[in-house]
Every structure is written in structure tokens, then in C-alpha cells.
Symmetry: C2
Subunit: 148 residues, 2 copies
Amino acid sequence: MIEFHVDRTDSLPAYAQLVKQVREALRLGLLKPGDRLPAVRDVVVSCTVNANTVLKAYRELEHGGLVEARQGSGTFVTGSLGAVEPHDMARLRTGLARWVAEARTAGLEDEDVKALVTAVLAEESAAADRDAHQGAARQAAARQGAKA
Amino acid sequence: MIEFHVDRTDSLPAYAQLVKQVREALRLGLLKPGDRLPAVRDVVVSCTVNANTVLKAYRELEHGGLVEARQGSGTFVTGSLGAVEPHDMARLRTGLARWVAEARTAGLEDEDVKALVTAVLAEESAAADRDAHQGAARQAAARQGAKA
DNA sequence: ACTGGTGTTCTACTAGACCATAACAATTCA
DNA sequence: TGAATTGTTATGGTCTAGTAGAACACCAGT
């Protein structure tokens, strides 16, 4: 059973933090189909948030096909982001750890690392991104009628 | 001269995005002391935001001692964040890009990549704390203080 | 059928972010 | 000196996301 934690000082809204935690848990294999998420009221108490806030998070997850809410029983994991083989995940993890160690040797702090990651991701997506992405770009794509 | 871009769909407020971009540019060596930031009015036009919004960002940076605003001339970088050799930075960048490509192949999204990075960083610092825990827990605290 | 757990809906409040506008102040340079 | 460019302050308003409280709806075990 996943345990949520909400940081109110974070600029990320509470509901989004919950969503993020579930997604990460799924990706890392800490949650899998069949598992039950904490009851709405439990999260309300443990994280000191409103039921609507929790619900908003669960709804977003449900809308994404990751969980399924069953009234009277609870909210259960149905989907999986574990499209990543545990083996691949392990390989990626060690590979990243090695790179991080190298970065540390060069004198990079945590924030430096994150900044670099962000930059590389942005650069990569900017290069590989010709059409449909998300947000405003979607409208431009719709106008062109291009969708793979 | 740094070029700003603001994503209104992002949950992060516009002014915070500007701050973040400057900080990251500083860390990556794209900005260095003496460089000038775009004029407030320029950002107003290029990012379609209000002058107050830009000001809020510049003020926050100034408050952090990273830039200095000179009325009549502009806003200039005064501080620095990461002093990494350009050569090392380039090497790390390509290494990371290679790893990211591998992660993409395995099916990871941007957020998943970031999550994994965060996890590895946390795991690594946790390991370092365990080492330092042998007799001197205060060093761990000092390390965390240095991060902030 | 009762009961206690569960998800759900409705309505409304609030704080923060944002914008529009305008005027003001300091610096630079012709 | 005067014009242009820059940052700064101030006012006042709008909008939206996030959140809250209370009541409702459904299900399973007893």
C-alpha cells in the first residue's frame, strides 16, 4: 500500500503531487495492477487535504486508465506504466547511477544535475518534435490535420 | 543573450519559469557574470506577459544575489551558480544524452526520466549519509545545509 | 435490513497569479 | 540639454486553480 506525502510549500498542487507519486510508484514497480490505493478518507487524514483534492487526483489517474474506482470497495490499480521491463529498468538505473557519479566527480550538485537533465530533455524534444506534442501545439496540429 | 519561453499550461507560474530558466542557464554556463538579461519590455513582448510578471522574476533573482538591476542600462548577471569546466560539461552532456536516448527506447517519458533521476540522486545521497553516519551525523546535516 | 466503509457530487470560498495602464526615476548618449 | 532606453512603482481589477464542507450514492459483510 503506497503511502502519500504532500508538501504544501511545493508549487505543485497537492492533487498533482498525489498523481505524480502514483505514477512514479507504477513506473518503479512499487505498485502493480490489483493493488489498492489508500481510501480517500485515509489520505484526507494522513495528508491533511480535502476529499475533493484526493478525488481529483484519483479521477485524473482513472481518466488515464491507470486505476479504477469501485464505489464501496476502493480504488484499484488497473493499468501499468511498467511497459518497462524490470531488467531494462535495472540497466537504466545503473547506467544513470554511473553517469551521476561522473557528474559528481566533475563537481555538479543535485541542482546542476537536474538542470542538465532538463536541458537535455528539452533539447531532445525540440529536435525530435515536428508536430503533435501537447497544449498549444495540438491546435496547430489539428489545423493541419496531421496525426500519426 | 538568453531567450525566455513561457508555457502557460505549466503549473509553474510564469515568473517562476523565468527565474528557473535563468538559474539553469547559470548552472549550464550559458550565462555568466557581466551578461545582460533581456530588457523587461522585451520579455513583455516576446513572452506575452506583463511587466510586473517579469519584474517579479528579476526581483527574485536580484534578491538571491544572482543579478543586479541598473536603472537606465539593464539587468546584469552578478553571481554564478555552477563553476564546471566547459569541457567536462560537454562530456557529461553527451553522456547524458546517450543515456536519455536509451531511456526513451525503453519507453520512459520525460517525467519518468526526471523521476528516475530524482530517485537515483536520493538513493545516492542516502548512501552517502549512511557512510557519514559512522560517528558523525552532523556532517550529513552540514551537507544538506550546503545544498540549500 | 442494517451498518460501516467506500467513492461521489454540489456549491462556494480564497489566495495567488496575472493583466492593463500609467506615471515616475535613473542612466546613457548625441 | 534633451531624447531615448531602461528599471520601478502604483493602482485596481479579473480570472482561475485549488481547496473546503456537507450531504449524497453505492457496495459488501453481518
